[in-house]
Assembly symmetry: C2
Homo-oligomer: 253 residues x 2
């Protein structure tokens, strides 16, 4: 029986530049016989997001943690073997996880796992092996209906691009704000940027809060400012934030 802790080979990393870019396929070196390839499609801390799926060696399953950008755009599920996403960013309240899996991949547990940790337990029982988190599932259903009412995933992609552009345009047109992530890798969900000094960042956060714009402090490992604009965040909010940014730069730049 394999041990509980798997050996992890890092096929690619951008640690050398504080995770501010995404390694290219050319920079990616898979180990000789990986059990699967895992990636996280959107990095909430540094604000990077894969534009396209990595291509694992032939026959190697691709597993994705899509928690922070699921249903923000269409997904070609045929490229994946397993996708999992905690609900709390784009789908509903925390405490539910959406899993999309290739049936034959999850048919048998790869090791002697407790029953509740086997995907197959839930798949065979239509996610009702025991009493599931009913409120979270209900809310996810409401969110799915809302996504459909917005025009589905293609429309979500258009909305999210337009929303992020409002803010990135201010950053790109400024000598004051500096984006954390490389432009071609940056996320449509989490916009991370710095100001010329930490003092100005603190002031920025405080002034934004006084206008009802909260939660802007960057993750402690990244610092700076982080604006999270998940599916549910409205375009009006992005517009108001972009206006505030322009104004703040004018006064403090």
């Amino acid at each position: 029986m394999p041990p509980t802790t798997a050996r992890v080979d890092t096929a690619a990393t951008s640690e050398d530049e504080n995770f501010s870019y995404l390694p290219t396929p050319e920079e990616t070196k898979y180990s000789s016989s990986p059990a699967y390839v895992h990636y996280t499609s959107n990095n909430t801390i540094y604000g990077t997001q894969f534009r396209a799926e990595p291509t694992p060696p032939k026959g190697v399953p691709l597993v994705c943690d899509a928690s922070s950008d699921i249903f923000s755009k269409p997904i070609d599920v045929t490229k994946y073997d397993l996708i999992y996403a905690g609900a709390q960013k784009n789908l509903g309240p925390s405490g539910v996880v959406l899993v999309i899996a290739r049936e034959d991949l999850i048919a048998k547990p790869v090791r002697d796992l407790p029953l509740m940790l086997r995907y197959n337990t839930h798949a065979k029982n239509e996610s009702r092996y025991n009493t599931p988190p009913t409120f979270g599932i209900y809310m996810m259903g409401q969110v799915f209906k809302w996504i459909l009412s917005q025009g589905g995933l293609k429309a979500m992609a258009v909305h999210n691009q337009a929303k992020a552009k409002l803010i990135y345009d201010v950053i790109d047109g400024s000598g004051f704000y500096r984006g954390v992530a490389r432009a071609e890798d940056r996320s449509l969900m989490n916009i991370s940027f710095r100001l010329p000094s930490e003092e100005l960042e603190d002031k920025f956060i405080a002034e934004a809060a006084s206008r009802g714009m909260d939660g802007l402090k960057g993750h402690r490992s990244a610092g700076g400012i982080r604006a999270s604009i998940y599916n549910a965040f409205p375009p009006e909010g992005c517009r108001a934030f972009a206006e505030f940014m322009a104004e703040f730069e004018k006064k403090n730049g």
Copy 2:
């Protein structure tokens, strides 16, 4: 490393009479060196409820599934080594579990469990090792405040006894209704009873539903009628149900 599936020795059972009573301490035979003794304090299907905790052999931990009667009355936690309770009966929405554990019992996992299944992972991180089910936890907090506002657990016990008495009095004073559980073992949370025929039971359920009293069909393995009157169920509801029962008996008895 021990296997995932533990060997279970049944120290006592009332299977001989379809689980309608609780074995006495004299009827309970523990195996020679149990790792722990587990019991479920309230049986939602057959409507039995322990009045007092079992007494395991000296030094053997007592573990209780208190999902269906937790906080319906005071608990002497010093008698237990671990209590766990799914929230969905007396505490809040499904998807959260309350665990009360002796610290030294959970300090080390007894076998090589995945991180998320180790009680200690959650204990060390104040239940916030990862994003917890925030809505369920918030709702549990609201329920705890409500319990305190009712006078705490002692008051809950009084309320619950009075609520159940309204319905058991109808059963006990009737030759029509027949309680499933032995009187001294019956539950204050789930009242299971039969009518003289399944036809009358179907009629009873349909007429009750027409008056807004729903969810009365017994569990498929027990049949009959089951009235679940958890903490949140109001005395007025018990009174209305008792009145309906008396009226139904008069018409059909």
